[in-house]
Amino acid sequence: MLSEANNKEKEFGEAYEQYSDALFKFIAMRIKDRERAKDMLQDCFTRTWQAIVDGKEVENMRAFLYKVARNLVIDEYRSHKSVSLDAMTEETGYEVASRSGDNPSIGAEVGKIREALDKLPEEYREVVSMRYIDELMPVEIAEIVGESANAVSVRINRGVVMLREALQIEK
């Protein structure tokens, strides 16, 4: 029993080392508030550990962490319901993305892409963001959102088509 607890602690520590950067990106790119994203990242890991303490068997730690982070982001959106996403964007700009951007023109271009992405319906925006911002595979996205990999792949393709149309880019 002791070794099992030690193993879980060790696994949890390794998960933090391995996934904290990606999870921070996942949260920060959606919340667009770096300080708040750090708090939420910590919250994501404490909630995950609490679930383990409560006896939850976590088979896929990475997917579980993303699920928790996704729920936190949804809660954050709900708590700021009165503030629209556009308003949040205007408030904070693309601080998170442009902070370390080398080329301002690329930053501006990415800003336009992100703007178009934010205007996509939620069901498409989420999977496209997971695929091209978080670089998750469709199978991983499927596990996080609780749908089949095929359904996720179809939605990603449709979302990209919609994004391309919004940006008036021809294939």
Binding site: G13, W49, G101, I113, Y132
Partner: protein
């Protein structure tokens, strides 16, 4: 789907990173949280907790069960295979052989000792103290049994052929 604009989006997103100092600070807080909220039913290190018999039994229950089963089976095999179960009893130890006697057999006042030691007087004639080393050999025991309780002796005396024949 290798659209250039998607590649740019991916590249831009890769720039969003947690500073190492921030990562270390959050990691330290998480470490404290994990220590403050350990997984329940964890057995503490042996040095920090006194010995618990129930825990020991719980941990080694399988070994104890197997050991007691083997003891019971072994005792059963011994009792079944031996012609004279008393051979393995300390009661049959010759009275003169003090070195082989168990401590409790030397106290005649003990009620347990009187019941167990008393048969020694019965055995003594069969295995005299002078021939104690030879008397305990299997051949001498079997020989004595054969001559007294031999089925052959019974057969010869009650032979059906001898009775039916004219």
């Amino acid at each position: 789907m290798n659209d250039e604009f998607l590649s740019k989006l991916t590249q831009a997103a890769r720039q969003v990173k947690l500073d190492p100092s921030e990562k270390a600070r959050i990691g330290a807080k998480l470490g404290e949280f994990v220590k403050a909220n350990p997984i329940p039913n964890v057995i503490a290190p042996a040095s920090a907790e006194p010995f618990s018999g129930s825990q020991f039994f719980g941990q080694h229950f399988g070994m104890l069960a197997v050991a007691s089963f083997l003891i019971v089976v072994g005792a059963g095999i011994v009792s079944v295979t031996s012609d004279n179960p008393g051979v393995f009893s300390p009661v049959l130890t010759p009275a003169s052989d003090k070195a082989n006697q168990l401590p409790y057999s030397s106290t005649p006042n003990s009620p347990r000792d009187t019941s167990t030691v008393s048969p020694a007087s019965k055995v003594e004639p069969v295995n005299p103290p002078a021939e104690s080393s030879q008397a305990l050999t299997p051949t001498s025991t079997i020989g004595a049994t054969t001559t007294t309780d031999s089925p052959k002796a019974t057969t010869t005396t009650r032979s059906p052929s001898s009775n039916l024949l004219p």
